[in-house]
């Protein structure tokens, strides 16, 4: 249990949190505000990775610019999707599920048809940091920084801007928000665009670390859904944050001690346990807690 070992453990924890957070935040925001389960989330991540890789290799742009292009491009694509398809399914959750699943199939198989089974990957910047016999890839620390930055940005937008107020109003009670004059259709459009942009960012950030294949979204989407369900839709940001922190806390020591497989199993069992005892997810639990406290204060 030496200090370098603990540092290594902390590094892995940060890495796992970043992965869960980046994979889940876009999905969570869309679920929380629009109440649509976006099964095409994995494919949006894939599109982000593809955009970055193609921009890097074909247009020879610098990597940060390629990533920015991914964010903007996938965000715009998300808004287009919302306008054309998702809009029709606001009151029809099952229909939305099927529609987004159809979109995911079109995107993944379409990419396979147009661009072939794989692309040459963007080279991973090999910034290495050594400490006490362990060496760490610094790019993954960057990913953690990006995850934290994204959460802070989302919090700032939700709680410190007019747009955020309107979005929270729409989340709380859409009919009342409309009655008060909030343009909920526009809010939904922007939210879907933001969720897609976040998915694009995830794809762009992880593009150097993984092979670029049309089905790469699946490796992100299964953990994303688990994180989202554990987080609960009551408060997207709090939910995503607490959920990824908790799940990574359980899976990291298991991965380190017993292997990747054990870590995966641990994550799934933890998710099961949390859902069993807190059916509305972690943010739902905190939300109820807060309400109970307010009710108690009133009496």
């Amino acid at each position: 249990m030496s200090l370098p070992y603990l540092v290594s453990l902390l590094y892995q924890y940060a890495d796992n949190v970043a992965f869960l957070l980046l994979a889940a935040l876009g999905l969570m925001i869309i679920l929380g505000v629009v109440d649509v389960i976006n099964l095409a989330h994995g494919e949006l991540i894939m599109l982000g990775a593809y955009t970055t890789t193609l921009a890097y290799h074909r247009a020879h742009l610098p990597l940060p610019l390629c990533m920015l292009l991914s964010v903007v491009g996938v965000g715009a694509f998300g808004m287009l999707l919302e306008r054309t398809v998702i809009r029709r399914f606001y009151r029809d959750r099952l229909g939305a599920l099927v529609a987004t699943w159809g979109i995911s199939l079109i995107l993944s198989q379409g990419t396979l048809l147009l661009l072939g089974p794989s692309l040459i990957a963007v080279p991973l910047p090999d910034w290495t940091v050594s400490y006490g016999g362990y060496s760490f890839g610094a790019y993954r620390l960057l990913l953690f920084g990006a995850a934290v930055g994204v959460v802070l940005l989302a919090w700032w937008v939700f709680y410190r801007t007019r747009l955020g107020v309107r979005t929270r109003a729409t989340m709380q009670n859409a009919e009342m928000a409309r009655a008060v004059g909030v343009d909920t259709r526009r809010i939904y459009l922007y939210t879907f665009g933001a969720g897609s942009a976040l998915a694009g960012l995830t794809g762009a950030l992880y593009a150097p670390t993984t092979t670029i294949v049309p089905l790469m979204g699946t490796t992100f989407v299964d953990v994303a859904f688990i994180t989202v369900v554990v987080g609960g839709g009551a408060n997207p940001i709090l939910g995503a944050l607490t959920s990824s922190a908790l799940l990574a806390l359980i899976s990291t020591p298991l991965s380190t001690a017993l292997g990747t497989f054990a870590g995966r199993i641990g994550l799934l069992v933890a998710a099961l346990a949390i859902i069993r005892f807190l059916p509305r997810g972690l943010s739902g639990y905190f939300h109820d807690l807060q309400r109970r406290r307010m009710a108690a204060a009133r009496t």
Binding site: L9, P117, P123, F136, G137, T209, T210, T218, T260, R264
Partner: protein, 588 residues
């Protein structure tokens, strides 16, 4: 519920009809009209729910349906008409089906099935069967040999499958044009020559030779091999018949493999099947091959042990790959081994081989990790390796997700030497990832594109003439190529494509001049002897073949008593069934 039924049944028809049906059903419910949704909506996509009030009324006027056969059959007839009209007027899209809806409106009152409907239905069915059956009839007349191939062209294993598909295509083209691999029963041998050789083997990549090893000053014994490996077969195709390749894409999905295997055997009635990259895929379909007595070639390196009368394996096995690479790595880097394996039958059994062979070679496996095939982020694995501090790593990771390990390990600063029986030779990671990710990588390969012999240069030239954009000629593309030629020779020898006779011909001790070198099919084990070369990848991703073993036999299943000529079997042996494995393991 009705909407779901409409969606399901509309799968074949006009997609817009689904939406219209759905909307209609919704409006009907909302407007309070009670339209009886009877079972006919399950047989056709709402064809009885027409547009417009007139037709709705006509529908309701129909007599209450007895739950008998009468009305549904009328509907079936109507459906058939719609179906035919759709094929005729496809370009008109929705318009034609709307017209048809209007045309069909007078019919709803008819109660029983009319003779006209029956005749139309039968004619439509007969026409349909004829259209679907025509290709099969045409093929039968041409009498081509049907060659079934199931290699992944998409999904986790696409990189490997594409290469094998190309190898098969190249071989079939050569066979159909009248060529075959030189071969016979015993390798031709060659004159042993005393000559001067360079101090080290050459280093090359697929574009050029980087270092030819230095001045040729050392005295040694060498042997020659002919550069031309193809000879004229004396006919076009085999036994006067061309080979026709039927190659659907199983998409790296075991269930698809099973479905497509059954289709190839039962519908297409192929004469041979060559299929599978991953061991899981092979084991998913091998029982189907045995049930149907189908001749099956598995052209991939694997964990060994398949003893099956109907199966021939042309890829390398552990005694040909794992043992030599372990020998080399232990001698050069040390005795502490850490194994990283994919978590399925291949990874588990290859790791078992490593565990069992280590004590024999005075080494020790200090740690193992089995990684599920879907994992693509490896921070925890990398941290565990750094904690264990091995002398070298044994790598059995496979698939596109796992190949991400190399750039991630490189970025994390991992510097251990690595040995493998699969990576870089099969998945050309050294061409896909930027240097120096695969530095210090060693693999014992039955073939790699960098092999510097004149024979291989000719083979590469011919391959790239047919497939100019091929990223790399991988080990298993060569296995597929050799297997196809071997099959053609066996059919020619047997004089028929009848599977039992071809199996006998393959068991006759046949051998061929493969581009990698002479290989021979062992009658008892149904495996090929292989020419094995140990490749080392350096920091610029150039390859040097440090050691070569020109002829390693597949001896392991023979040790277990397998002799498929006398005693047919249909199973796969695992290391646990070999008493020798446990015997040496106990010593340390």
């Amino acid at each position: 519920m009705e909407r779901a039924a409409a969606v399901l049944s509309a799968g074949l028809g006009d997609p817009f009809r689904v939406v219209r049906t759905a909307q209609r059903a919704a409006t009907q419910r909302l407007s309070g009209r009670l339209v009886v949704h009877h079972s006919c909506s399950l047989t056709h996509a709402g064809a009885c729910h027409r547009r417009g009030p007139r037709v709705e009324g006509a529908h309701r006027r129909a007599p209450p349906r007895a739950p008998g056969m009468a009305q549904p059959l009328t509907r079936v007839g109507a459906h058939q008409r719609t179906e035919d009209a759709m094929t005729n007027d496809e370009t008109n899209g929705i318009a034609s089906s709307e017209r048809l809806d209007a045309q069909e409106s007078p019919r709803p009152e008819a109660v029983g099935i009319t003779r006209r409907d029956f005749m139309k239905a039968t004619a439509a069915t007969a026409a349909g069967v004829a259209v679907l059956g025509a290709p099969a009839i045409a093929r039968a007349q041409a009498q081509a040999i049907k060659f079934g191939l199931l290699e992944d062209r998409s999904g986790n294993f696409a990189i490997f499958g594409l290469n094998k598909w190309h190898g098969t295509q190249l071989a079939i083209k050569e066979i159909n044009e009248g060529f075959t691999l030189d071969g016979g029963v015993q390798g031709p041998g060659g004159p042993g020559v005393h000559a001067k050789i360079a101090a080290k083997p050459p280093t090359q990549n697929i574009k050029q030779t980087v270092d030819n090893g230095g001045a040729q000053t050392r005295d040694d014994v060498v042997w020659t091999e002919s550069a031309e490996y193809l000879v004229k077969s004396g006919e076009q195709g085999v036994l006067g018949r061309k080979i026709e390749l039927i190659a659907p894409d199983p998409q790296s999905d075991n269930t698809q493999f099973q479905a497509l295997a059954r289709r190839l055997i039962l519908d297409e009635k192929v004469d041979v099947i060559m299929a599978g990259f991953a061991s899981a895929e092979r084991e998913a379909i091998r029982p189907i091959m045995d049930q149907n007595k189908m001749l099956y070639f598995y052209n991939n390196q694997y964990e060994g042990g398949v003893a099956d009368k109907n199966t021939f394996c042309t890829g390398a096995v552990p005694e040909q790959q794992i043992v030599p690479v372990m020998q080399y790595m232990i001698k050069n880097f040390g005795p502490r081994i850490y194994t990283l394996a994919a978590d399925y039958n291949f990874g588990q059994l290859s790791a078992a081989w490593t565990r069992a062979m280590a004590p024999l070679l005075n080494a020790e496996v200090i740690g193992e990790e089995f990684i599920p095939l879907s994992v693509s982020q490896f921070s925890s694995s990398i941290a565990k390796i750094q904690q264990a501090k091995p002398s070298w790593l044994m790598m059995y990771i496979t698939g596109q997700n796992h190949s991400n390990f190399y750039p991630q390990a490189n970025a994390a600063g991992l510097q251990f030497p690595m040995g493998s029986s699969i990576n870089i030779a099969q998945g050309y990671e050294h061409r896909r990832f930027a240097p120096p990710a695969l530095n210090r990588f060693h693999v014992t390969a039955s073939y790699m594109e960098e092999i510097p012999t004149p024979r291989n240069k000719l083979f590469v030239k011919r391959w790239r003439a047919m497939f100019a954009d091929e990223p790399y000629l991988a080990m298993e593309g060569h296995s597929a190529y050799v297997a196809t030629h071997l099959y053609a020779k066996a059919v020619r020898l047997a004089g028929t494509t009848e599977k039992a006779k071809v199996i006998q011909a393959l068991e006759s001790g046949i051998g061929v001049e493969a581009p990698a070198g002479w290989v021979a099919m062992d009658p008892a084990t149904h495996h090929l002897s292989q020419y094995i070369r140990l490749a080392r990848c350096d920091e610029k991703h150039d390859i040097t073949f440090m050691t070569e073993w020109p002829h390693i036999e597949p001896w392991w299943t023979r040790r277990l008593g397998v002799n498929l000529v006398n005693k047919p079997e249909y199973k796969q042996y695992v290391p646990d069934e070999d008493p020798f494995f446990k015997m040496f393991g106990k010593k340390k």
